[in-house]
């Protein structure tokens, strides 16, 4: 598709405008709550929704992540001189450093992110947000802060669980099928362990959690128009979150491994 120079300029300035608006909006989001109990209630509801609500899908995905990683590495290493227990080590580090945080959060951006965008966007369109504003509620704070904080708290735990299940998935895919022995896999898991990698995993989880809740909340909060626009905002929320997560992944990798 041909994009003229002017269109490009417009596109870039529109992105910059959104970025500016988003940053300025953050000041309204992180404000002292009108009522701690109401915010806490909302926080707990979100913990449950995001945490427990996403557990089955995360578990399912993680099992396969581990299983596929093991099988493919086994395939690559077959016939080489690399000892089989290395596969345990590779699965562990791949999972912890990259697969668990990134995959989990990409999936959560789809599930939690679109949910947040349509919930908040729906409230905007049905004038619920106006109604709350008129009552004197700081809606940016009440509707967004508990969601982001809950995500910052629970998503790192989900990522942890994901890493664990993924490693178990690798076990299930290899040991019962006879690719190598349980002892070899476990030896691999216990070899060359660098705690710093776990720290990297948590950094990623926290940053991604912020992205996949804040970006959709922004898309929902400022939605205009009707149900078609709401659908579009929800899609945009997921796409932008995904892109930003991948970008952040790259930047974190650069910075933390430097």
């Amino acid at each position: 598709m041909f994009v003229s120079c002017k269109d490009k300029q417009k596109m870039i300035s529109s992105y910059l405008e959104h970025l500016g608006k988003f940053v300025l909006w953050q000041r309204n989001v992180y404000n002292k709550p009108e009522n701690w109990r109401m915010y806490y209630k909302e926080f707990v509801r979100q913990l449950y929704d995001i945490g427990i609500g996403s557990l089955p899908i995360i578990a399912l995905i993680s099992v396969f992540l581990g299983a596929v990683t093991v099988i493919q590495f086994y395939y690559q290493m077959e016939g080489t001189l690399i000892p089989p227990y290395y596969i345990g080590y590779i699965v562990r580090d791949m999972t912890i450093i990259e697969l668990a945080p990134t995959f989990t959060c990409l999936v959560l951006a789809g599930k939690v992110g679109s949910n947040i965008a349509s919930e908040i966007g729906g409230m905007r369109q049905k004038e619920h947000i106006d109604a709350m504003e008129i009552m004197g509620v700081n809606t940016s704070a009440y509707l967004v802060m508990p969601k982001v904080l809950a995500a910052l708290f629970i998503i790192p735990m989900l990522v942890c669980v994901s890493a664990l299940i993924s490693i178990m998935g690798g076990y299930l895919a290899s040991v019962p099928t006879g690719l190598f022995t349980s002892a070899e896999y476990i030896l691999g898991l216990r070899s060359f362990f660098i705690p710093y990698n776990v720290f990297m995993m948590f950094v990623k989880a926290v940053v991604f959690a912020f992205i996949l809740t804040s970006v959709p909340a922004y898309q929902g909060y400022f939605v205009k128009g009707g149900s078609i626009e709401l659908g579009a905002a929800s899609t945009r929320a997921v796409v932008f979150s995904d892109i930003l997560i991948l970008l952040a992944d790259y930047l974190i990798a650069l910075v933390l491994t430097a």
Binding site: N35, E127, H128, E133, M135, G136
Partner: protein
């Protein structure tokens, strides 16, 4: 009392409100009337600060709306009750939770006090016993009444209603009008009501502001409506040929 001075509002190139001056009085039902699209909702949203006027000022007694800091604005908003054109009831909460929401958010009342207040408000709008129903499970008229109950739960000084009886049968509409009117007089509230319902105008129109093409076309009380010579008003009130005929006959004989 709420006073507006030279309010103008444009959306893009279109000027919807073209310089409106009016005074909404305390303890009275102040009506904003006008054809669909005349700018009633826009004016109401400017009054409560959801829209910023392009020009002009809004005064709540001695306070100017645009000149308030965050805390003052919040304090003012806690004295405002609003019934939206589409009710804006929170659909994930039941009737009781909806009405309790402002109290939960802003007061340190005990559970018992809140419950009593909820029951009292529901009683006022004749919805005793509907506490646990969800907005989707009750009729439009009932939703309106829940909306009113929620708007008055913190005993506001200012009450705004955007078309409180649109979409209701004439009987229910009048009940709602009477309800709002009683609440207004009993508590000396400054009530502003948007409507294009003729019955409302004649029933509760203490102080009427007629909008036409973005301008104030007429103001006065319900007693003055019939005898007014104002063409826009007459055209608005006696819109149907039937009413026109009725009026002609009344004047003739």
């Amino acid at each position: 009392m709420i006073r507006i001075q030279d309010i103008r509002k444009s959306f893009g190139d279109v000027e919807v409100l073209k310089g409106i001056n009016f005074e909404f009085e305390a303890g009275k039902n102040n009506l904003i009337i006008g054809k669909s699209g005349a700018g009633k909702t826009v004016l109401l949203k400017i009054l409560i600060g959801l829209f910023e006027p392009t020009n002009g000022s809004v005064w709540y007694d001695q306070q100017q709306l645009g000149g308030l800091n965050k805390d003052q604005l919040k304090a003012l908003r806690m004295q405002i009750g609003m019934l939206f054109q589409g009710n804006a009831l929170f659909d994930s909460m039941n009737v009781e939770e909806n009405i309790r929401f402002p109290m939960d958010m802003f007061t340190a009342m005990t559970a018992k006090e809140k419950q009593d207040r909820v029951d009292l408000c529901l009683e006022r709008v004749s919805l005793e016993g509907s506490n646990l129903k969800y907005p989707s499970e009750i009729s439009g008229g009932m939703q309106k009444r829940v909306g009113i109950a929620r708007a008055i739960v913190l005993q506001p000084k200012y009450l705004f209603c955007d078309e409180p009886n649109s979409g209701l049968d004439p009987k229910t509409a009048i009940t709602i009008d009477e309800l709002i009117s009683t609440i207004t007089v009993d508590n000396n509230i400054t009530t502003v009501i948007n409507t294009h319902d003729m019955n409302s105008v004649m029933e509760i129109g203490d102080n009427i502001c007629l909008l036409n093409q973005g301008k104030l076309a007429w103001k006065g009380g319900k007693e003055e409506v019939i005898d007014s010579e104002n063409e826009v008003l007459q055209d608005f009130i006696f819109a149907s040929p039937f009413l026109k005929k009725l009026k002609a006959r009344a004047l003739g004989g």
